[in-house]
């Protein structure tokens, strides 16, 4: 019964692995792109960078179209996707997320459409305003979504995850924009990408250190592979953007692509880490036993 220090039931998992499939980590990425792009677009507009504003707007709108599609296809009963809007539940990040996605998606696509046809300017401005408010939420709530579970490596990282996801969103939005905007106008996008990558790198460090043993899954198995890939790709892309992004269009495109790939891998790393963490009863038992040790008492619900 007692393998390496902790006891379990024939080594069987205590938690159930998340049933989510490839769509979800991919959505984390597209949602991030959509959310951050909205902010990028508006800010660009306010600072008179029309080209960047328009491109970011279109990128955001596109990402806002893909995202719900991904979510729906992951459902066990896709035909019931509207049930998400049956209620408003502040206790359910996924429910709130659905509303946010509805608002931000609706707004950004209205704005993009009006931009395209070039009419109803005030409505467009309103729509942009709305999506600018919704965007940052869309970009960060997914961090809460995964943190709000019993999976140790997710729940114990509840402080860092929204920040990491936000930084990752910023990086990918910036990178995406700098791929499609002429380097001359893509300065802010590049800086955003680079800054995002740097910030996220630092935050990952903090998170893994704080997680201790629980965090080891980020260095093991598929999660390990993805987080290493994420680091490598993002850093390389950021470096390229920083050094040659202003001069060479090609470098900008490649750099942007690398950063996007890196951010996608990051979401996959987090996703896989969750599965691995749920699979091994050790993380549940040890983290809870340690907590009892630390607090000298069992947990309570002070909500």
């Amino acid at each position: 019964m007692s393998e390496n220090g902790f006891r379990s039931y024939y080594g069987r998992p205590i938690l159930k692995e998340p049933t989510w499939t490839w769509e979800i980590p991919t959505y984390f990425f597209t949602g991030g792109v959509a959310g951050a792009s909205a902010v990028l677009s508006t800010t660009a507009q306010l600072t008179g960078n029309e080209k960047l504003a328009r491109t970011a707007l279109y990128i955001g709108a596109a990402a806002d179209l893909v995202s719900p599609a991904l979510l729906i296809s992951d459902l066990g009963r896709p035909e019931r996707f509207l049930h998400m809007l049956r209620v408003v539940k502040v206790t359910s990040p996924m429910n709130i997320g659905s509303w946010v996605l509805l608002v931000s998606g609706g707004a950004s696509n209205t704005a993009a459409a009006l931009e395209l046809v070039g009419r109803l300017k005030p409505v467009k401005l309103l729509a942009e305003g709305v999506s600018t408010l919704a965007g940052p939420l869309l970009a960060t709530y997914t961090g809460v979504l995964v943190a709000d579970t019993a999976v140790p490596v997710w729940h114990e990282a509840r402080r860092e995850l929204p920040w990491i996801f936000g930084a990752s969103a910023a990086a990918s939005a910036g990178a995406a924009a700098s791929m499609f905007v002429h380097p001359r106008d893509a300065g802010p996008a590049r800086r955003l990408a680079v800054a995002g990558v740097l910030a996220e790198g630092a935050l990952m460090q903090v998170m893994e250190r704080r997680l201790g043993t629980i965090g080891e899954v980020y260095r093991q198995g598929e999660a390990g592979t993805f987080s290493r890939a994420a680091k490598g790709l993002a850093t390389a892309g950021a470096a390229l953007l920083a050094t040659r992004g202003r001069k060479s269009r090609g470098a900008a495109v490649l750099g942007g692509a690398l950063v996007c790939a890196g951010e996608l891998s990051l979401r996959w790393a987090v996703f896989k880490a969750g599965k691995q963490s749920a699979r091994d009863p050790k993380y549940v038992v040890e983290s809870q036993r340690q907590r009892i040790e630390r607090d000298g008492t069992k947990a309570t619900t002070k909500r």
Binding site: L85, R86, V87, V88, K89, V90, T91
Partner: protein
């Protein structure tokens, strides 16, 4: 009109109206949940029965719906089992409705390589003929030693511990009258 009905049934509004702001209780209760009933309360009739497995003799209640067994559970009135059942007894419905259950007579002719169809009536007729013929050919009035025998040793009947008393009674009565003495079952203790 239809819209307002739709809105009324929209839990988001009910959350506010029915004092369930978090949307975890009454407001989100579905139509099905509201009108849910227990299968046993829908039964056409209930029959008192006894578990067919071991000899503890647990009381069972058999719930019947549309001519089929809808559910079987323990009979609380039984002083022996007090409504409780073991996994086997509890699976009685699945037993009488087993996916492997046979509903038609199967016939295998001598040296045959597969089952053939046969009507129940023909089967009964053929079995009766076999018994009469076998009996006639192998009847012994006496043992080789000259003692009375009045029997055939060429026919046997096996089974009874899982059958009803009335069934065992007819088996023993018929076989004795036929001079079949090799009548047996598991009850060898």
């Amino acid at each position: 009109m239809a819209l307002s009905k739709l809105l009324d049934s929209w839990p988001t509004l009910r959350q506010l109206r029915e004092g369930d702001p978090l949307g975890v209780g009454r407001a989100v209760q579905s139509p099905r949940s509201k009108t849910l009933t227990a299968r046993i309360d829908e039964a056409d009739h209930v029959v008192g029965s006894v578990c067919p497995y071991c000899a503890v003799g647990c009381g069972q209640l058999v719930y019947v719906k549309d001519g089929d067994v809808a559910h079987i559970e323990g009979d609380p009135a039984s002083p022996i089992s007090r409504g409780r059942l073991c996994p086997k007894g509890q699976a009685s419905r699945s037993y009488v409705q087993s996916p492997l259950r046979e509903y038609k007579v199967k016939y295998r002719r001598p040296y045959g390589t597969e089952w053939e169809e046969l009507s129940l009536d023909d089967a009964m007729q053929m079995i009766a003929e076999r018994i009469v013929a076998t009996r006639a050919e192998t009847w012994r009035r006496q043992t080789p030693g000259g003692a009375p025998a009045n029997r055939t040793m060429a026919i046997g009947n096996l089974g009874g511990a899982t059958l009803d008393n009335e069934e065992n009674y007819l088996i023993k009565k018929l076989m004795t009258a036929l001079g079949v003495v090799q009548v047996e079952n598991q009850a060898r203790i």
